[in-house]
């Protein structure tokens, strides 16, 4: 059931009506669970087995861990006097091993399922490049949203082990956390501590919340159907015939893909958060105006934020502060000097994070290279920071409006270049096409009508351009005023209603469907 299908819209409308009109407040979570399982069932009934096993594994090991840790604490408390500081430490260290074993089992099973379903054929494909007799691929299903829900359960298992959240004792409630349908398609990656309370005790129906959720859904559909699904037509032509479209066309690919990916992903997230909001559930934001970032680090703090913080909290930090890394840090500072030595462990951890980020995005080498290129750019900008500081001190550009605009443009172009890996889906081809921008001088071709041969007519370019200007103005409003335009509009109710109607009409009239168009799956759905 695609988010953009009529089926889904009817599903949501019926669910929302039943949810608010007939279900008591304390039983609403039950209906959400039924709806989530139904959503998954209609996608493919076999998916239910996978998500069920993942949820059950995390659920069982969480309870085992929590119960065991409680017993340890109780024992320590009851026998306080018989322990001195040294024996207390020893007891804690010995018993912590059992707790870690539970965590390890939960992670091995759940990450194992993810690895087996998503990466088996990638490994076979990689092995085949060295073999004369290729191994045959396995026919394996990849459950929808497996990367998202697996990461949610992994964070839950680790949080339980750290003692930062309490284990959920009701399996059905935990299954709802794992399978909450709006975010199954493309995230955000929610943490149990953030989502559970609002999921099990949603806000009662209230005009402001409901209206803001509704207009956000419309806004998401507008971005997805009017912009993203329109631009994808031109993009496909450009990317699928790279020999024909080199040089300046690659720059067009960069611009189109930056707009298309942004509208596709943020549009999907708007629909997700909007649906949750109309149901009284608060889901974490996943974007914060990423294209206004002044450097790549800031960009990654604003784009797909729940994924970024997940990798920071569950890979970067644990790895960086592990005893082995701390020893390495000490050694490298002693032998390589303080300045270089203290960077070694940070860079190793950062490398691991970006390698994992690349692999998480997809089972293909271009994703791995994309991740590592991000690592290289972040490290380079980190190393160049003192140089930038000197430059800023000398010329005093920092803080000037034109310089801020330059920084934003520079970051946008840099990130759009890296996204080419995702467009061409072939490492060698991506480098070749990127290089062609500097040696194939065909800018004139862009103005001889060739852009009208990509499957988009003049009307499409006008519609997409006007829609993008609207998206830009709405983003600019948030940047300047610090709040969403829809919140301002709600204070002027007639204007709010007018805008909602306009959005609906614009999406219905100008949405990219019908002959020549096909409302496509969300890009992040494949992850």
């Amino acid at each position: 059931m695609l988010f953009t299908s009529l089926q889904f819209i009817v599903f949501i409308a019926v669910l929302t009506a039943v949810y608010h009109l007939f279900v008591p407040q304390n039983e609403k979570w039950g209906l959400l669970l039924i709806a989530s399982l139904a959503f998954y069932f209609f996608a493919d009934p076999r998916y239910l087995i996978f998500i069920g096993v993942t949820a059950f594994t995390a659920y069982v090991f969480a309870i085992l861990t929590e119960d065991y840790n409680s017993k340890r604490k109780a024992y320590l408390k009851a026998n306080k006097e018989s322990f001195d500081s040294e024996s207390k430490k020893k007891y804690k260290a010995t018993t912590a091993r059992v707790s870690k074993l539970f965590l390890a089992l939960a992670l091995i099973i759940n990450l194992g399922i993810l690895a087996a379903t998503k990466y088996t054929n990638f490994v076979i494909d990689t092995i085949n490049t060295w073999r004369t007799e290729p191994l045959s691929f396995v026919n394996i299903i990849i459950p929808m949203g497996i990367s998202f829900y697996t990461f949610q359960t992994v964070s839950y298992s680790i949080d339980i082990s750290r003692g930062t959240v309490k284990a959920q004792r009701n399996f059905w409630k935990f299954l709802l956390f794992t399978s909450f349908f709006p975010q199954l398609v493309q995230g955000p990656i929610s943490r149990y501590g953030d989502l559970s309370e609002t999921l099990y005790n949603p806000k009662p129906l209230e005009l402001r919340n409901f209206s803001l959720g509704l207009i956000r859904i419309l806004w998401g559909y507008f971005k997805k159907l009017v912009i993203a699904d329109r631009l994808v037509i031109g993009l496909k032509t450009l990317v699928e015939t790279p020999d024909e479209y080199k040089g300046a066309y690659v720059f067009v690919v960069m611009m189109l893909y930056a707009a298309q990916l942004y509208c596709d992903f943020t549009g999907g997230i708007d629909i997700t958060i909007g649906i949750a909001q109309t149901l009284g559930v608060t889901v974490k934001e996943n974007f914060d105006l990423p294209y206004f970032s002044k450097n790549i680090k800031e960009y990654w703090n604003r784009w797909h934020m729940t994924m970024g913080t997940w990798f920071t909290d569950y890979i970067f930090y644990p790895l960086s502060v592990s005893p082995t890394m701390l020893k390495l840090s000490k050694w490298s500072r002693q032998h390589l000097g303080n300045a270089i030595g203290k960077r070694v462990t940070v860079y190793i951890s950062c490398f691991c994070v970006w390698l994992a980020t690349g692999i998480w995005h997809g089972a293909a080498w271009h994703f791995v290279v994309w991740g590592l290129m991000n690592f290289v750019v972040i490290m380079a900008s980190q190393e160049l920071e003192p140089l930038y500081a000197k430059f800023h001190n000398k010329f005093g550009f920092k803080g000037k409006k034109w310089y801020s605009a330059f920084e934003i443009l520079r970051t946008f172009l840099l990130m759009s270049s890296l996204k080419l890996f995702d467009c061409y889906r072939d490492v060698g081809l991506t480098f070749k096409m990127f290089g062609s921008m500097f040696y194939t001088f065909n800018i004139g071709k862009l103005f001889n009508g060739s852009l009208l041969e990509l499957g988009l007519n003049k009307g499409d370019y006008w519609v997409a351009s006007i829609a993008l200007v609207i998206v830009f103005l709405v983003s600019l409003y948030k940047k300047l005023k610090g709040r969403e335009a829809r919140e301002m509009l709600f204070e002027k109710l007639p204007l709010f209603v007018l805008c909602a109607v306009c959005l609906l009409l614009a999406t219905v009239v100008f949405g990219a469907y019908g002959t020549g168009f096909d409302a496509s799956q969300f890009i992040y759905n494949q992850f």
Binding site: T164, F316, Y317, P318, V321, L326, S329, R333, K342, T345
Partner: protein, 75 residues
């Protein structure tokens, strides 16, 4: 506490760590800084800060970080 301030000043000499209470909220310290601090603290105070303690509340001010170090030393 003076030694801790010294560690922090090494990272950002332009910040008043004695008074600032929004080091994370205002994005003055990033994840790279935090890892450097943990490593320095481990060296100089012989205190290992575990990953679960790497949360904004513990790093928003020098005082909060000092309180964390003291708590871990007692443990």
């Amino acid at each position: 506490m003076d030694e801790l301030i010294e560690i922090l000043q090494d990272l950002h000499s332009d910040v008043d760590f004695e008074t600032c209470t929004t080091l994370i909220d205002d994005k003055i310290l990033d994840s790279f800084d935090i890892v450097s601090i943990v490593s320095e603290v481990n060296d100089r105070f012989d205190v290992a800060i575990p990953a679960k303690e790497l949360i904004p509340e513990n790093f928003n001010s020098a005082a909060a970080l000092w309180a964390l170090i003291s708590r871990l030393e007692e443990d």
